[in-house]
């Protein structure tokens, strides 16, 4: 029944001051839209404008056009942060997706203790990133840390986790993987449990091995779930801050500086909001570009095949 008719048949007739038009829809939604504008669009727009000005606390804020963007794109520190971001995102996401899928397949089986395992998997994503950062900083301390203490117990050499540039990046990746792989497991587990059983049963009858069933049936059917998981993690890695800040503050010497950490340093230590805003928008542009590729490439391939 159309809304107008429904209205007319209700008990007491009430006169509506406005007809049911699209304008009325917008009018009713306007409080929510205004709140959205105030808390979401306004700061976004304001910071975007800020990125075109030399915006510090000096009192004057001259317009510099694309100057802040050009400075950063040709700057040493930004390029180091960008390289770190690429390494951090690609390695973290790859490990999380591959390990997440493997663990999901394992806990999807009817083995003893799997219920407990699934419950325990909820723990890492529930812990605040700041706590994760502090714990890993402690675990990776060369003198007192548990990890190097264990290595020493087995007569293995110490690893300079947080004081060597390469190992420091490995350390923050390990912390990120520890916290986020279980989330991938939960997503993939939900996907696996909702897969149709008929194709798998048919493949079993046809004599397909478990690996063949996984590779040729499960994985293609799981593609939408994997895409969602990838999308979530790409967005997340481009805004990772707490764990890295607590573990290394982007150090040593910028070796773990991600775009968010670099932007924070520019805004709150260098007091340079113009460049900080430019870095944030470059990061936003990059994450959108990667997401675009993630959706666009399969879509183009599918379209070409259809032709």
């Amino acid at each position: 029944m159309p809304p107008l008719a429904q209205h007319q048949v209700s008990g007491r007739r009430r006169r509506s001051p406005l007809p049911y038009t699209w304008q009325r829809g917008y009018l009713l939604a306007s409080p929510a839209l205004l709140v959205m504008l105030a808390i979401l669009i306004y700061p976004l727009g304001y910071s975007f404008i800020m990125s075109f000005f030399r915006w510090d606390l000096s009192g004057s804020a001259p317009f510099v056009g694309m100057g802040n963007y050009a400075d950063e794109l040709s700057g040493r520190q930004f390029n180091q942060a960008l390289r770190n971001q690429a390494i951090f995102s690609v390695i973290s996401i790859t490990i999380e997706v591959v390990a997440g899928m493997a663990i999901a397949v394992l806990v999807n089986g009817k083995l003893r203790g799997m219920r407990l395992a699934r419950t325990l998997l909820l723990v890492p994503p529930m812990i605040a990133p700041a706590v994760v950062g502090l714990n890993f900083r402690w675990l990776f301390n060369t003198q007192y840390g548990l990890v190097d203490a264990l290595l020493r117990m087995f007569n293995l050499p110490d690893i300079p986790w947080l004081n060597d540039p390469t190992w420091a990046l490995v350390s923050v990746i390990v912390a990120d993987v520890w916290q986020n792989t279980p989330l991938m497991v939960l997503l993939f587990l939900a996907g696996l449990q909702s897969l149709p059983q008929e194709p798998l049963e048919a493949a079993t009858v046809d004599g397909a091995t478990p690996w063949q069933r996984f590779w040729h049936i499960v994985l293609p059917l799981m593609r939408p779930v994997i895409m969602i998981a990838l999308m979530l993690r790409i967005i997340d890695t481009f805004r990772t801050f707490d764990v890295v800040w607590l573990m290394t503050q982007g150090g040593p010497g910028g070796a773990t500086n991600l775009l968010t950490v670099y932007s924070y340093l520019l805004a709150f230590q260098a007091v340079d909001f113009g460049h900080a805003a430019a870095v944030s928008y470059i990061a936003l542009g990059m994450s959108m570009f990667v997401l675009g590729l993630l959706y666009g490439v399969p879509w183009l391939i599918a379209k070409r095949r259809a032709i």
């Binding site: 030399r54 915006w55 510090d56 606390l57 000096s58 009192g59 040493r76 520190q77 301390n141 060369t142 003198q143 300079p160 947080l162 004081n163 060597d164 540039p165 420091a168 290394t248 503050q249 150090g251 040593p252 010497g253 910028g254 070796a255 500086n257 340093l265 520019l266 805004a267 709150f268 230590q269 260098a270 007091v271 340079d272 909001f273």
Partner: protein, 426 residues
């Protein structure tokens, strides 16, 4: 009850609650006899200290102070944010010499509220580096001085027949004799502002300076390269400093010394109280102090925690009264008694030194000498950004990613461009 609650009544009540909550901040601000302050904290004693200061001030003047406490890093971030927003939320801010050049346009000048004779009471180094070099305006007033002396394990030194180092060479020599079996002869910070301060000390000690006569970067001079090379070698070549020090700041350094893992540290005045307290130190009674080391000179930084007046404040007179109280004799003595914070007033410092006995008197004299001869990096336009650049440059050299010379030369080129853009040479 639900039967009586019509949609109209519900909406009216909601609107009233919303209007009330929106009006609340203005209603709260309407009290003319009240000011607001954003104050620094650190350690369990600080909140009690501010509570006492505020109570005493209110009892004396009748002006109430509503205040929030934050530790140094979040406090700095909040002051930056509020200054950018031109907020009048707080009338008074705790601040520091480190980034004062960023606030020259946001803190109201205090020189008009203090006579020349009142300003002459404070250590000249503190007042000098809180002034805008362009306008001469005083952006903040020093509350306490911060400089470093050497803290060393007197029991271990005596056992091994060693004396605290006086020169750079002796620092390495003594450190090598003490390092081993999980212990280190020395700890130095290797990250952020603390690393820059340590480099700064070594730069001055080696005869260098941050900028030349024309305010162009000069920290990449021969002296600067020597200083950063020596600093790096303490960690990477001589290995007398824990390797994790490249990620350490002041707290980690203090913990390494107070836990007994390292045998020497260059620490600030508050360390004297912390190290004397069995609740915060495992080495009570086992340490002593000595002057900072020297190379060509024996210079160290002398900085100050300070109080500033928000330029947007609508209650400047009352706020200034509070600022004056926090740097007055009573407050300065109280902060020395509670945290061994060194007074910014020369007269109070002399009183405190005269009243001290034994090791504390020796330490205070060492500290006073360091402060009287101390320096701070220049307060030129854009130097806050140069500091951030320097954090990275120093850390890269300390973690052996780049040679000290390459790191400083690259930083000097970028620093000049940053200062030029910020108007330091206009």
């Amino acid at each position: 009850m639900s039967a009586n609650l019509s949609r109209r009544k519900f909406l009216a009540a909601s609107a009233a609650v919303t209007a009330g909550s929106l009006a609340a901040p203005w209603i709260a601000r309407a009290d003319a006899n009240e000011i607001t302050a954003l104050l620094i904290t650190g350690g369990p004693l600080y909140p009690k200290y501010w509570e006492k200061i505020v109570q005493d001030f209110t009892a004396k003047t009748g002006v109430k102070v509503r205040y929030d406490l934050l530790e140094f890093t979040p406090l700095t971030a909040k002051v930056v944010t509020l200054s950018a927003a031109r907020s009048s939320q707080y009338d008074v801010y705790s601040t520091h010499t480190a980034q004062i050049d960023s606030y020259f346009n946001h803190f109201a000048p205090l020189n008009s509220y203090f006579s020349d004779s009142e300003l002459a009471e404070f250590y000249p180094v503190a007042v000098k580096y809180l002034r805008d070099p362009k306008t001469g305006n005083l952006a903040a007033i020093p509350r306490n001085m911060d400089s470093r002396v050497q803290y060393y394990r007197s029991d271990i030194y005596q056992e091994k027949g060693l004396k605290p180092a006086e020169t750079w060479e002796e620092l390495v020599d003594v450190g090598l004799k003490l390092t081993g079996n999980g212990h280190y002869g020395l700890v130095v910070p290797g990250q952020g502002d603390p690393a820059q301060r340590t480099f700064s000390d070594l730069l001055w000690q080696a005869g260098g300076d941050w900028v030349d006569q024309a305010n162009k970067p000069a920290f990449n001079s021969e002296a600067g390269i020597k200083a950063l090379t020596f600093y790096r070698d303490l960690i990477q070549k001589h290995k007398i400093v824990p390797p994790d020090a490249v990620g350490y700041q002041w707290n980690e350094n203090s913990t390494e010394f107070s836990s007994g893992t390292v045998y020497a540290n260059f620490d600030w005045p508050g360390a004297f109280a912390t190290l004397s307290n069995p609740e915060t130190s495992r080495v009570v009674g086992k340490w002593s102090t000595a002057p900072y080391v020297r190379d060509k000179a024996a210079i160290s930084c002398a900085i100050s925690h300070a109080m500033a007046l928000n330029g947007q404040s609508g209650r400047k007179e009352a706020a200034v009264e509070f600022i004056k109280y926090t740097v007055g004799p009573q407050a300065q003595r109280l902060q020395f008694d509670q945290f061994t914070n060194f007074p910014s007033s020369q007269a109070i410092a002399k009183e405190v030194i005269a009243a001290a006995k034994g090791p504390q008197a020796v330490w205070l004299q060492q500290l006073e000498t360091t402060i009287a001869n101390g320096k701070e990096w220049p307060k030129l336009a854009g130097f806050s950004k140069v500091c951030t650049l320097m954090f990275s440059a120093i850390e890269q050299a300390l973690s052996d990613q780049v040679s000290p010379a390459d790191s400083l030369n690259q930083a000097a080129t970028e620093a000049e461009e940053i200062m030029r853009r910020a108007g330091a040479y206009d």
